[in-house]
């Protein structure tokens, strides 16, 4: 059986649902998602969404902050679209019912955020993503958008040089089915779980990027990975800057408050990347606790202040770490937080492969360049969800029917492949491979990088790819085979790990979130360029393409 729709969207986070809403009235659109839409990682975003709403603010200033924050690697045409449409995107959600936090006069409240020259971050308490995702989901329900829930997309189908559908595993039955369409939009979110320590949801495994690469679409700027300085040791749940803003101090295993050596003026409140590098340096120099983490100490603030001002952070520490910050310091370490890179596309959502589009964190248009500003990624999902819907609707007019036979053949081959994997009785356990991959990426492709480490990482990742090809899952069932899902996600992550590492190895400079200890300077002459990775696992190749410069002159990034 082959299912047919005009357009298939993979992913039901903010980007996927916003794209679906834009298409619902034009064509037969369906969303394929490996979890229920409300379980998407978008739900976890806390801080807010940027838009120049104030009379003293402007889209140009927002654009400048974004370009500067990106260390000048963002494409300025894409940034212009992002920032010009920001207010409309926020107001659209307001009109759909999002309960933004408000000023006394009833207008939408905005707060300051790192790297922004104006308080332009709109929020809904500390649950902005939750409120936006529920709103957008409600609107998709209103429009009756078809959703294939708990269907795991495994691969794209290409015929005659264009994407003509995809193959997916229906979790409830274990069936592998073909879905034919005239266009496919990838909106599968980030790939934080390639790292062992990540603030991301467990489902953020970058499936869309891996599928796109296998279908011939390049991946762009994969080496640019944002790390957050303070994540809870163990689960790596985000501990927001708020804890340090209230006066929390960082100490090492010797009880020494070390930020004085790294940022004597700003101390704990220095920019994210500086604090992350400081903590990592302490740990690498043997002054971490158990060699793993440092302490974020709030105890001196006193029980009442902690309970009153930081109730959310206290709750997180107690529920997820078994630690009450009133009595004990919080164990923290840097962790992966955001994926700037993704599927290469232009600001309209088009990839170089016909019929294939990308949007949201899975895409790289690129509006974030070498470093994303907080509050710009929620914005990206909504603005470019709408833009990509328009692009697809326009392209459909000149697109013929899908190649159903090719989709059927692909589904047949995928069934055989998965059968083979399920029947294999001996081989490494995916669990063991996953446990090795995370630390390799954390340690060698993390906050600090250098030639020796990256070369070692590349070799180890390729070795793990080989093991994964011979992996055996053990005894599983057909229905809700999460061990199979996790094995397929692991294959995807291994491919992305290679792309990230290769990009990082070849980029012999430091820019934004990419910090090379052996090349500590930015090098515009050679590397004011986007990295493009193409090819097959184990043999990926790197090329470069120009950054779309524009109104803002390339300067040193200094705050």
């Amino acid at each position: 059986m082959t299912i047919r729709h005009d357009v298939l969207i993979v992913g039901a986070g903010l980007a996927g649902l916003r794209t679906a809403i834009g298409l619902a009235e034009h064509c037969d659109v369906a969303v394929v998602t490996k979890t229920h839409p409300l379980r998407s990682h978008s739900v976890a975003a806390q801080g807010g969404i940027n838009a120049a709403l104030g009379k003293d603010d402007s889209w140009e200033r927002h654009a400048f902050d974004t370009v500067k924050g990106s260390d000048y690697l963002a494409d300025q045409d894409a940034v212009e679209v992002l920032t010009k449409n920001a207010a409309a995107a926020v107001y659209e959600c307001e009109r759909w019912g999002t309960a933004f936090s408000r000023n006394d006069d009833g207008t939408i409240a905005q707060r300051p955020f790192g790297g922004a020259s104006f308080p332009r971050t709109c929020y809904a308490a500390d649950r902005t993503g939750h409120n936006l995702l529920h709103t957008v989901y409600e609107q998709a329900l209103r429009l009756g958008v078809t959703v294939y829930e708990e269907w795991f997309a495994t691969s794209l189908v290409v015929s005659g040089g264009r994407v003509t559908g995809l193959v997916a595993l229906e979790l409830s039955s274990g069936d592998v089915l073909g879905l034919a369409s005239r266009a496919v939009v990838l909106a599968t979110g980030g790939f934080g779980r390639v790292y062992g320590r990540s603030t991301n949801a467990l489902i953020n495994t970058g499936d869309g990027c891996a599928m796109a690469l296998r279908a011939g679409a390049p991946l762009k700027d994969m080496e640019f990975v944002q790390f957050h300085p303070t994540t809870l040791y163990g689960s790596n749940i985000l501990i927001t800057e708020g804890a340090r803003g209230e006066g929390g101090v960082l100490t090492n295993s010797e009880g020494h408050r070390f930020m004085g050596e790294y940022a004597p003026d700003q101390m704990e409140l220095a920019p994210r990347d500086i604090v992350a590098r400081a903590i990592q340096t302490e740990i690498d120099s043997g002054r971490g606790v158990d060699g793993q983490y440092v302490w974020l100490d709030l105890r001196h603030l006193g029980a009442s202040r902690i309970k009153e001002r930081l109730p959310g952070i206290r709750e997180i520490c107690m529920h997820f770490g078994g630690v009450d910050p009133v009595d004990e310091p919080i164990p923290v370490q840097p962790g992966q937080h955001y994926s700037m890179g993704g599927v290469h596309c232009d600001w309209t959502g088009k990839t170089p492969v016909k019929g294939l589009y990308a949007v949201g964190e899975t895409s790289c248009m690129s509006v974030h360049g070498a470093n994303r500003l907080g509050g710009n990624s929620l914005l990206e999902t909504l603005v470019f969800g709408a833009v990509t819907a328009r692009t697809v609707a326009k392209d459909l007019a000149s697109t013929g029917e899908p190649d159903v036979t090719a989709v059927e053949d692909a589904a047949f081959r995928e069934r055989e492949r998965l059968q083979g994997l399920l029947l294999r009785k001996t081989g490494s356990r995916p669990t063991d491979i996953r446990r090795e991959l995370g630390p390799v990426m954390d340690r060698l492709v993390g906050v600090f990088r250098n030639e020796t480490g990256l070369t070692e990482a590349l070799g180890r990742v390729r070795g793990l790819q080989g093991q994964a090809q011979r992996a055996s899952l053990g005894e599983t069932d057909r229905e809700f085979n999460y061990a199979l899902v996790r094995a397929l996600e692991l294959e995807n992550m291994l491919l992305l790990a290679e792309a990230i590492t290769l990009g990082a190895l070849m980029r012999r400079e430091s820019r934004g979130a990419h910090w090379r200890t052996d090349y500590p300077q930015r090098n515009d002459e050679e590397f004011l360029k986007h990295t493009l990775v193409t090819g097959a696992p184990g043999a990926l190749a790197v090329q470069y393409t120009d950054v779309h410069l524009g109104r803002f002159e390339v300067k040193e990034r200094k705050y």
Partner: protein, 250 residues
């Protein structure tokens, strides 16, 4: 530590319990343990997850006979917790091989059909959103709203649709057509939102025979909700509105 986990293959299948010995350390959640079992002991064990941070609503299940989010439940300290729920068969009946002293009991969320192991069919829970049309009609222009207007609905906005209230409710246990507490809290969220112009339809939907009138104000939902939504309070208000009382929600 010993974990007793309910296993089953689909609607027709029998449920049995498997026992696993798992090492636990400080900070481990029940979700961590389930992954360890899937990784080390039995790859066929099925359970839902996503955020591992109590924000996505995926991992509701019955842990030591209390409906909880697996990702937010610390294994150490499980013994001390008692939600004081009004009993009904699913949370009362204990498998003969288990007592709290012997370890941790993990079972699927009650009141929804079991699909496999700890995975239940969420469709009856989510169906109410569509049936009751719990969405806003798009407004032509952006609106203002005072902070107090938002504060009035804040608690209902916090719902993560985990279905713990549904799984803890003795009425849901007996009446599969009852829309359940979360949908009613959401109906009040729209009814009480100062921006909504067609608010009456939300009240009408909430007062349908299979909605608020079915609730017996047992309040298990209020005790069990991990997000402080207190849907039972919302239902009480909806009932009062139905009787023509308490009109100051907007």
């Amino acid at each position: 530590m010993r974990f007793l986990i309910a296993r089953s293959h689909g609607r027709a299948g029998e449920t049995h319990y498997d026992t696993f010995e798992v090492e636990v350390k400080k900070g481990d959640t029940v979700l961590d343990v389930l992954f360890r079992i899937q990784d080390e002991h039995d790859p066929s064990l099925a359970f839902r997850y996503s955020c591992r941070g109590a924000v996505c609503g995926s991992c509701a299940m019955l842990i030591n006979k209390q409906p909880q989010l697996a990702c937010r439940t610390q294994v150490m300290g499980l013994g001390e917790k008692d939600m004081h729920l009004r009993p009904f068969p699913a949370i009362e009946t204990v498998p003969p091989e288990w007592s709290p002293a012997q370890g941790v009991l993990v079972e699927p969320l009650p009141n929804l059909p079991v699909l496999k192991d700890l995975v239940v069919d969420m469709r009856p829970f989510f169906r109410a959103l569509r049936d009751m049309e719990l969405w806003a009609a798009p407004a032509q222009e952006p609106r203002t709203q005072g902070p107090e207007g938002r504060a009035r609905i804040q608690r209902y906005l916090d719902c993560i649709m985990c279905a713990i209230c549904y799984g803890s409710c003795p009425v849901n246990a007996e009446h599969s057509d009852y829309v359940g507490p979360a949908a009613l809290a959401k109906a009040l969220r729209f009814y009480a939102d100062s921006r909504v112009t067609d608010r009456q339809r939300f009240l009408d939907a909430a007062l349908a025979p299979n909605a608020a009138p079915m609730c017996e104000l047992i309040m298990n939902c209020v005790r069990a909700c991990p997000k402080g939504v207190a849907p039972g309070g919302a239902i009480r208000q909806l009932k009062a509105l139905g009787h023509g009382h308490a009109t100051d929600t907007q």
